[in-house]
Amino acid sequence: MQETVKKLTPEPDYKIIGTRPIRPDGVDKVTGRARFGADYNLPGQLTGLILRSPHPHAIIKSIDTSAALALPGVKAVVTRDDFKDQESEFVPAGEMLINYRDVVRNVMARERALYEGHAVAAVAAISPAIAKAALKLIKIDYEILPHVLDVDEAMAPGAPILHPGMITAGVEPAPKTESNIAKRVEFILGDITKGFAAADVIVEREFETKPVHQGYIEPHACLATVSEDGQADLWVSTQGHWIVRAHCARLLGMDVSKIRVTATEIGGGFGGKTVVYLEPVALALAAKSGKPVKMVMSREDVFRASGPTSGAKMRIKVGAKKDGTITAAEGELKYLAGAFQGSPVGPGCMCAFAPYDLEHVKVVGYDVVSNRPKVAAYRAPGGPISGYAVESVIDELARKLKLDPIEFRLKNAAKEGTKAAYGPKFGPVGLVESLQAAKGLEQWKAPLKANQGRGVAAGFWFNIGGETTVSLALNEDGTLVLMAGTPDIGGLRASLCMMAAEELGVDMNSIRVTIADTQSLGYNFLTGGSRSTFSSGMAVVEASRSIVKQACERASKLWELPADAVEYIDGAVRPAGANAGKHPPMTLKQVAAMAGKTGGPIVGSSSINASGAAPSFGVHVCDLEVDPETGKATILRYTVIQDAGRAIHPAFVEGQYQGGAVQGIGWALNEEYIYGADGKMQNAGFLDYRIPVASDLPMIDTVIVEVANPRHPYGVRGVGETPIVPPMGAIANAIADATGLRFSSLPMSPPRVLAAIDAAKAAGDKSLKLTFA
């Protein structure tokens, strides 16, 4: 059952699409030659370090940097005074909105420090030791305020207010009193009162999830230099260097044209590298000192001060008829945004019931601030949280109705034409096909032993398109140079070369691909929203077709034929039909050699706002065993089934499925932000923030379902985010299957699971089905 590709759409006779070539950047990455964020250096560079608030909530009454500045070797110090305040304005960053008023405050605290780890000052010095010593010389007068971490406590009347005067948006009439609730959102379809009245069985449950971090292995890093006339260069590990350029220009009051940003190789992002932290500070320090400044976060800083995703509390209610038809679904979602508004509660609400074709749905969401680091996007932001809760309730409902959980989902599955609660009607989607593939798994029928359980869950993510530019230049020897602008985090260069090579009928290795800097290519939105293979791929196809068109024009001119009398097949221009005369095929190499004489260089470029991104549905099946005496769950077998539209490079699609599933396994079983009563994070490191290690896991089986996206030239759907949506539900359902007990709180770590087992045992709970030694 390993790594199957189920081709469901008739496929043209592709030569390269669907194969598994070695990636163009592969050798650099297995030899240590590839240069990541912290691998860039400039002569005479300074070390930049940030001073962070030790308090979760405090007014910053004064900052005295004089002693730090006086320390020999210190070249610059910046604080809030070095960043102009910004008007409140929301702009897109990945799949989330950010507000520059908040960004400037998150980059450098202004009136208040709003979480432990909040940046309050920064220094640049000639050595790390001097920079560290200088931080200790900065005197900050804090007025410590009471802090709040929990979402319910933050929403309660009388809670410590983070942003005085904040009035909840989205409520009519507007509340008169300030609160920590930044926003209320609501999505309604039909009439749930009517729907629930028609139900035979209703399940209503409350759930909680904890903030979890993206956990990329490469900490944030950048290198900045600013000349005396204000021309800046920035090398940075980011998912979107045009976005970094925009944010830095805005925060520093610079013209966009003054800043060149080069995206270094990026050591993982998962959404967390779609925002700025160090970059504006490094530029400010570089400008002030006149020297290059390098800044690298410590792992501890990454945890304390860069964005995890939200923790949440949720109430989910679903009703169904005896025949398994879901009649109504309702959700109330309260998401922690961190210190500034902008949790992914909107997408959380929109995704919650997206896998199901429902008539009556109501989802209400709240975006709540608290004294935690501001959340950043994390792989399908918002989706896994609500998905976990909904899939748990769906599973419980199936059991109550004595229906097979896959059959129950199939009966209600979203399909082409289904109107989602958040508005649109789906085009062709692959949920039904994925559920059927799950039903057909050998794993689905395999026997389980005592204390073992099996769970299934479905998941959805929208995927996006967006602004994209690529350039494809035909070299004089027939090879090509491809420039794209979406950072390659997991094989993008390979996929783009494959699409260009397929279009042009050339060897993929004749194309050298570069992720261009902001100075070398038109605007590109970031790598996020599972858009890069979709959008940059679409642009590459357009650019390739432009090359084909130009090649045809050149050949037709030479052959003195009308342009439509030639055609491009298998890497060569040929006369189209017998009437066009007997000309031998003119290969792209020959076209290239004559380009100078036939009209000049041949370059194809494409600047698009890619539309037609299509959602991807996935279904996960998990087998696990629970140790009844310790509460520890061990994953035994795991299969990811997902619609890829079309897998350009199936190995990298599988990689997304496997990686997303394992991040979800970590989220389900062990990962969480742990705070003390003092409001400080207690596990800011990989020792106690427990991401899965190799020995925790079995092989992760995959099935790629292909229901082509009709709006992409190769049928591509984004695939990177959906895989993290189903795991928590699948694992919760498997634990319920193994133990007979329902867990409504993540992570399902051993102490929590054991406490529930022991409580059920003590209470004589008949649903407990474990075998004790």
Binding site: D39, Y216, I217, G267, G491, G659, Q663
Partner: protein, 158 residues
């Protein structure tokens, strides 16, 4: 503060440096010798991105002081390929697409090489436990484990 004169070899090449007392082997490799293939992921021995060998023993270079290096031989990712020939592990990592972002890859390769030198025929479980100190957040480890097993098979055959 006085610096220490330290001499050792890196990938077989004699190396002499002046080293601050608190500089780690990782600092020296990356900042002094500009061998940036060895990565820093945590600096606390929890991620394995900085894996190197010292006298053929696999270690985290973040957990060793430079001043301890006198007379030692250090092996890094830059020493895996010989001339223009990739090590079988490097080749198998490429063929199995065992990397996505690539930041953890040098550490995994150095650690895997140390494993196969000790145990040319490891089971999947042995591979997984040996590599438990190398974190990868992208791949879910599946293709990494396959690549190591396949490289081991090929190296045994060769």
């Amino acid at each position: 503060m006085a610096k220490h004169h330290v001499s050792f070899t890196v990938n077989g090449d004699p190396t002499e440096i002046l080293c601050e007392t608190n500089a780690t082997l990782l600092d020296i490799l990356r900042d002094e010798l500009e061998l940036t293939g060895t990565k820093e992921g945590c600096s606390t021995g929890d991620c394995g991105a900085c894996s190197v060998t010292v006298d053929d023993r696999l270690v985290c270079s973040c957990l060793m002081l430079g001043v301890e290096l006198n007379g030692k031989s250090v092996g890094t990712i830059e020493g895996l390929a010989k001339g223009d020939k990739l090590h079988p592990l490097q080749q198998k990592f490429l063929e199995h697409h065992a990397l996505q972002c690539g930041i953890c890859t040098p550490g995994f390769l150095v650690a895997s090489k140390a494993l196969l030198e000790k145990n040319p025929n490891p089971t999947e479980t042995e591979v997984r436990y040996w590599l438990a100190g190398n974190l990868c957040r992208c791949t879910g480890y599946d293709k990494i484990v396959r690549a190591v097993m396949d490289a081991a098979a090929e190296m045994r055959g060769a």
